[in-house]
């Protein structure tokens, strides 16, 4: 059989399968909806947890190669304090500076406050503030540019200036020159960070002194970064810091990753477990519906056998039908799953849905969508195997004898 004829046979097979599926419209539709719901659930949950994991991993990017010193009482995620534990700035910094093997140390105040915008109080944790000494901005933010190269970083410690994350700027339509009100202090936006890091996207960065004043943490910080000199490992420096300062934890990059790793593994395991259960349910659904369909069409399959159709043709008819359910359900699921992931992201962050749309593929990465689509199509295809084997065994003599 030449390739043209084989191609025609494939098109005919596909047409036949579409029509077979449309014979029981409601049942097929319900099955497709079932598969679509499964896909939607997997994508929404998967994308949300992936995003969560990515944000946590990103937290280390800013402080790569440095030891993070935090209070022993602090609750930390990747060494970012999210509760408790303040450090006396001057005495702690001075103690760290005296430790050999240190190149540079930067005290930072990291707070997750409310920002009052035009009289509306926006609750945490959708935004946070960082207070960094102005002379140390470069060592923390590296080469992060300002959007459109407009504006500048705050010039001195006492200026009421702030640089903001792009997501905050988009949400509140802030631009360079906008005055924002935080805890009664009026700050001027002097630049918008051009970054994709989740941490910086929702951040208001100001001078350390200003942050301490605004948030009433005068003389205190909650993170001190310590960069080792060349030849000194992070571990050696961290050990030295912990030996000399009893009230701090000095966390190396590896330790910070190790702290978060079990949580990430657990999240991924749960995610995988949920996906397995949902895919197994889809498999059972597709198999049941296809078995019913095959059972109702015994005569059709037996007729195909009688007129000389090969068993592989009969097998393909059933497999293509079940796979089509997966394809249609998968496409719908991808659409609604992506939408749901956006809605969840919007709900978690209070950022409007419209603002998330341009960055949809950061929340639901295309590769992830392709993986889930391939998985659901494969599941549907496998779901058709048992019904297809049943269909292959149907013989006209037996079917007609059973009918009379």
């Amino acid at each position: 059989m030449n390739s043209l004829v084989q191609g025609e046979l494939r098109v005919r097979l596909l047409t036949l399968c579409f029509r077979n599926l449309s014979r029981r419209k409601l049942r097929t539709l319900l099955c497709i909806i079932g598969v679509a719901l499964a896909t939607t659930f997997v994508i929404a949950v998967g994308a949300t947890t992936m995003r969560y994991a990515t944000v946590i991993k990103e937290m280390n990017v800013l402080f790569s190669g440095q030891v993070m010193v935090v209070s022993k009482d602090a609750i930390v995620i990747q060494a970012i304090p999210i509760g408790g534990g303040m450090l006396p700035q001057n005495s702690t910094v001075n103690k760290i500076k005296n430790i050999t093997g240190l190149e540079k140390t930067v005290p930072i105040l990291f707070v997750t406050p409310s920002i009052e915008v035009s009289g509306t109080l926006i609750p945490v944790p959708e935004n946070f503030s960082m207070g960094v000494p102005v002379e140390d901005w470069r060592s923390i933010f590296g080469s992060t540019p300002l959007k459109g190269n407009v504006g500048h970083f705050p010039i001195n410690e006492s200026s009421n200036e702030a640089v903001i994350g792009p997501s905050l700027a988009d949400q509140y339509r802030w631009s360079v020159g906008t005055k924002i009100l935080i805890n009664g202090y009026e700050l001027e936006v002097v630049g918008i960070l051009d970054t994709k890091l989740a941490l910086l996207n929702r951040c208001v960065v100001m001078s350390l002194k200003l942050a301490q004043e605004i948030y009433n943490y005068r003389g205190s910080v909650n993170i001190i970064t310590a960069k080792p000199v060349q030849g000194t490992t992070q571990k050696n420096l961290a050990d030295a810091i912990e030996n000399q300062i009893s009230y701090v934890n000095a966390l190396t990059e590896d330790e910070r990753n190790d702290m978060i790793q079990p949580i990430l593994v657990q999240v991924e395991t749960w995610n995988l477990g949920l996906q397995t259960v949902v895919f197994a349910m889809s498999l059972i659904l597709v198999m049941t519906v296809t078995l019913m369909s095959v059972s109702e069409r015994r005569r059709d399959f037996a007729t195909l056998d009688a007129i000389g159709a090969s068993v592989s043709y009969v097998f393909r008819v059933v497999i293509v039908e079940s796979t089509l359910i997966g394809v249609l359900g998968g496409v719908l699921g991808i659409f609604f799953g992506s939408l749901l992931a956006l809605v969840l992201a919007s709900l978690y962050t209070n950022i409007s849905l419209a603002q998330f749309f341009p960055s949809i593929f950061e929340i639901v990465p295309p590769l992830y969508l392709i993986e889930i689509f391939a998985a659901i199509v494969s599941v549907s295809c496998i779901g058709g195997v048992v019904p297809a084997l049943n269909a292959m065994r149907m013989r006209i003599a037996e079917v007609l004898r059973a009918e009379y």
Binding site: R12, T303, A309, R395, A397
Partner: protein, 224 residues
């Protein structure tokens, strides 16, 4: 095509009991023969047709086509013979409900690997020959019973079979339509020189058959 059966026997086992549906049938079918097999319900007509049509395996005995024993061939070899050398007409038509009349006739040709153009041209010719050129795109549920049986006959002729096996082809039809179907089968037999084997109760078929066999309790004997 010449077909010869020797001691063809088919026994069904239903739990502890055995039913001999076809019992030591010796039959010779030669080219261009119009053959009728008559007998009461449950006498084994359909079982014999399934055996002759290679849709079932005999319990004992053998079937030879052109002197070659085909009874022991694999089911895929049987399928090839059915596809390329035989055509089937069933009492209940057995058209695929999701395909149009034209597509139903094209299907055996598609399975045989013929090109789309060839399939369509031939299917059009066949449907015209059975008087259905105005019902091409209609699905089986939109056709009358007589029309469905005509489509089934056109489908049976798709791959130019040497033998057409028809199981009660007029069983579901009114008397006028039955006459037309019989005339059509007779015409195919005479014009195309195809063997036609019909299992029937219908005396009108018996009237036109070259040879009539009576089957009773699985045993076959020549009636006239």
């Amino acid at each position: 095509m010449r077909m010869k059966t020797t001691d063809l026997t088919r026994i069904y086992r239903l739990g502890p009991s055995e039913i001999t549906a076809v019992n030591k049938v010796n039959l010779e079918i030669t080219e261009a023969m119009f053959m009728a097999i008559v007998g009461p319900s449950g006498s084994g007509k359909s079982t014999l047709l399934h055996l002759i049509g290679l849709n079932d395996y005999p319990t004992f005995g053998k079937i030879c086509i052109d002197d070659a024993d085909v009874s022991l061939l694999s089911s895929s070899e049987h399928r090839k013979i059915r596809l390329l050398r035989m055509g089937f007409v069933f009492q209940t038509f057995n058209l695929l409900p999701t395909l149009s009349a034209l597509e139903n006739v094209e299907l055996p040709m598609a399975l045989a690997g013929k090109s789309s153009k060839e399939q369509t041209e031939k299917a059009l010719r066949l449907l015209e020959a059975v008087g259905l050129s105005n019902r091409l795109v209609h699905r089986p549920k939109e056709l009358s019973m007589g029309e469905m049986q005509r489509v089934a006959i056109a489908r049976a002729l798709a791959n130019d079979p040497e033998m057409i096996i028809a199981d009660e082809p007029t069983g579901e039809l009114d008397s006028k339509t039955a006459k037309e179907i019989i005339a059509l089968l007779f015409e195919i037999n005479r014009k195309k020189k195809a063997i036609v084997v019909v299992a029937t109760h219908d005396e009108k078929i018996v009237d036109v058959a070259d040879r009539i066999y009576l089957i009773e309790d699985g045993g076959l004997r020549l009636q006239s």
